[in-house]
Amino acid sequence: MRTLTDVFAPGTPTLPEGLRTLVVSPERELEPGMTVRATFTFRNQGGAPATGVRVRFNLPEGLVYLVGSGKLDEEPLDDEQGSSPLLARAGAQIGDVAPGEERRIDIAYSVAGAIENGSTVELQAAVAAFELAPVGSNVVRLVAHSRPALENALTNVAIETRHGASGGAAPGGEANVTVRVHNAGESSAHDVVVVAPIPEHTSYVPNSARVNGREFERELLASFDRVHAPIVAPSLPASATVTLQYRVRVDDPLPDGTAIVARAQIASQETAAFVIDAASLTVRAQADFEDDRTSVTVEPEYDVTPGSHIVVRAVAFNAGTTTAENVSITLVFPDHVMPVRGSFRIDGQPLRERKKESLTFDLGAIGAREGVEFVAEGAVLSPIADGTSLPVRAKLNWAPEGERNFECSAVVRSQPRFSTRHNRIVRVGGSAVQPSDECEATIHLSNDGSAPATDARLHLTLDPALDEVRVFDKTVRLQMDRDEVDLGKIDPYTSRRLTVRARVRTPYANRSDIRLGGSMHAREAGEVVLGEANWRVESHPAFSSETSQLQLVQDDVFRPNQLVEVHVRLRNEGTDIANNVRLRLYVSPEARLESVEGATRERSALLFGEIRPGGSVEAKLGIRLLRSLAKAYPVTIESVLTADAMLPVQLMRLTIVTTAEPNFSVGTLHSEPADVADAGDEVEFVLHVRNGGDGPARRVKISIDSLDELIYVPNSTTVNELPVRDIGAQSPLTSEQGIMLSDVDPGVEATIAWREVVHNGLSSGETLMRTARISYDGERLDEIAAPELKVRCSPVFANAIAGLPFGLDGMLGPAFAGGQRALPDVNDRFVQLPPATPVARGETAVTSVLSLGSSGNGHAGDDADSPVVETVAVFDRERLERTLKFLSEARFGGLTSHMFALRAFFPDEAGSSNESALEEVRGALRETLDRLFIKLRLPNYVIAPRDLENSGTRAGIVALLNSLQPGGPALSSGATILRGACDAGELRALAARLEDAPLATALPWAALARLLPSESDAEANYRRMLITSLDDLAGVDETAFIDALQRRPYPVLDAALNVVCAQISTRA
């Protein structure tokens, strides 16, 4: 028994048709690409269930399973690896089939793209079970219908050379003709015939025909070009291609552009003959001047001298396959080559002379394998550098569009040249020069050659007498290296004129000859001698008053009898030695020459002997000033310098400035008594003056001031003990003229004495100052002061004067006008301040705040007329301790601490009703402030507006303020009860204001502050101050309020809170 695996095996017969329930669509024929659907239905017509049922379909050649099309009872069967289990060898397991149960299997195929026409496809299904052997369905046979398609894009003809079709074909070359026949249909084409005639202008290459690469003529039994319409393929399967290929040779010659067209016709048994598009190949034929037979040369190529001619020879040979039309050649000479007129020849024949010669020459038409020779000459111009390459370019043009460029060159041989006629040294100016004079010579250099002279160096032969040699090129000084000057390059046909300047060395012997020679050396020209220039020296000694002079060693004003040192400096500025140098001095009679150093003295003359040129001598003279000189007559020294072979030279006069003046600055003025004098005593003043200077004083005036404290004693003035007449009752010393001394010589002394009485009205202890003034020569003034003289008086009691029988008023004098102040008591060590101004008690806020005395402020209960809302906060011991500790912890500075006081002392009950509103506000207040309490523990935390209040809190506060009713809460019990009271009307007003007040401002806190306890004075005081502080801030914005909360100090308020806490803790 065949198993399901065995059925449908290749080569096995189909199963017997047991079930005729296989339905296939289409039923009879199919075409490539068509979908074939098969439905197999079977029923368990037995009485027992069929278990392990499997169904299998065959997959005939030419059909392909359509993926996903397998279904069992309309339910898709999962494919495995792109194939349905229905096509597997074991078939698809579909489970059990109960008796009477019917199952339906669907599957679809796709017809393959290529299927031979007339071929048969057989479809069959089989079903098996554990209990049943495979049962075959009816076999459905389908016949395929298809045909070949030879006329398509892949069927074509082509003709090309080895280089492809685009390059065209050359005459005489070969081309391949390829005819491709492709079967794009679904079935084979039979007896495929190709008609491919040999293209015109070509000839068939024998035995070159190939079909799919194999020789074809052997099958034809004749030459391919002689067989018309051969069968190239007996059968051409679908999607197959047959290629017919043969070679042809292009005829030679052919005109350029000739088209070679390949044509073909195709036919088969199934396909009627049709013509395919022809292919063509264009013939390319051209003239050719590219080989070596076409050339351009220059003669000679080397050692071309400037001024000579070069010959350019051009040969144009057409090696191409067609005639070159309009052949022309264009020459391009370099700048240094000038074409020679009349030298142009074509094939030896000269061209016609033209005035405006163009360098483009028409050579006419040159046939294939023909040539033309063209000759031209050019003259090499001078100057030109040696070794210069002269490139000659030529361009050969021909039609159509052909050209070739040539380039050849000739190398120049060129030299510089320096003739003696143009290169020499010429002296400038006369031949006689003096030492230190400047000599000048001109060097002429001229390059007569055709090439530049490089590395030219000028060598100067310098005489030792020449110094400071400089070489100039025009105004530019050239750098000298020893005796040489680098001239660099001297271009051809250029001249350089150098100027040599030198200074004659000084000193230098008279009548000496000076020579300046020169030569030039260049790399190309060698050494060129330039000759020399000559001078003769004339030299003499010379002195001048500028460099030879007398000079004071110390520039000062000298006094009589002083020794003045004078330097004598002589300098020979000449160019020869000065012999027998002598300096004759003429000194004023107020002085005399006392000493000479550095020269030999001969009376009033100084002998210096020999001084070399440029040399100097020095001598030091000592001039003694005589005592008889006067200020108005300075001492002068005149001198005359003489030497051999020179004219006398008068030196500058030396003037010695002298001075002699009197001096009375040293003198004494003393009194007798010297230190203390009693009132009414006589005092004698003695003035000693002396002319301590070195000159006489013509007039000396001595005077003193008249003092009220001293009374002059008439006739008491003496000069050197000679009495002097008074002027009135006064001493002449106190007069305007004073005492006048005349012609006081140096060292002369004068003693002036006078007497005065101390005024008895002076007070004891007063000081007397006496000063004498000495003026002389009208411009000098000296003062001589006497030591201080103190007045001494004795106390005298009025009416108790001895010797007077009566009292005498008024004689007591001013000394008794005021008594001495009494000294303070030794025990009074401190100054007693005046009593402090009493300060009103109400003017110091601090004392009132800190006072625990009753103030009555803020306690609404004091106002009996207003409705009062009483508040109560009850603290047991634990709560009180916690509250106080909380308040001590919540000291964050500013008003913030007091906001926590609002939380701490917020009442438990207020008014007569509405505990819920109070509880809501308490809760919100606690939550807000607890969070703020936590946040403020963050370092440097800055309070944000949201930390203070939100709209819910605000609404709760408003509701509370509106709901508080006047009255007192029920009496509570507790350890500590804090009571407060507030005006209900004020709370309503605050509630109204809160409706419009912005959030996070001070107003709600000001309202809540009214609920603080105020029973005790401290509580009332704190409540009042906190309300005041918050009310003051009610108008500010949130920023200012937060600033007050965190930054503004409230020390008084803090102290008040401390007092409250302390008091509450005490009460507890």
Binding site: F886, E889, R926, D930, R931, I934, K935, R937, L938, Y941
Partner: protein, 134 residues
């Protein structure tokens, strides 16, 4: 005799029943309370904010405090977990805020448990401050 036997049998049966009841009674089972986790040194947790969202991974001290107070309005287990983790915040005010919020949410026992598990000066300060805010 029969009556006595019957009576004895009844007594025996009652005794058996009582014994069986006593044997099978759930009260017999000893209640084993879970042992609290051992005390351990407190370690700061800076990543607890990430539980609220990646965008909250890096917040300043004040911002974490605000986050704690914002979470206070959320009543779910996730918020509770977040607040418990916030107890380990390296900032003591932030941890205090979390503890305060947990207490207000009725989860004071979790705060106490945390304080007991991580005893120390920090825990004492938090506990004392919480007591001030009662």
């Amino acid at each position: 005799m029969n009556a006595i036997v019957i009576g004895l049998l009844i007594v025996v049966a009652i005794a058996v029943c009582v014994g069986a009841y006593a044997w099978l009674s759930p009260e017999r089972k000893t209640v084993e309370e879970p042992e609290p986790p051992p005390n351990e040194p407190w370690k700061p947790d800076t990543a607890w904010t990430a539980q609220a969202g990646d965008e909250f991974a890096t917040l300043s001290e004040a911002a974490r405090c605000d986050l704690v107070f914002a979470v206070a309005d959320l009543h779910d287990e996730r918020a509770d977990g977040l607040l418990v983790h916030a107890l380990d915040d390296p900032s003591e005010p932030v941890a205090l805020a979390a503890a305060h919020v947990l207490e207000r949410r009725g989860a004071a026992d979790r705060v106490r448990a945390h304080v007991k598990r991580h005893p120390g000066a920090r825990a004492e300060r938090i506990e004392e401050t919480l007591s001030l805010l009662q």
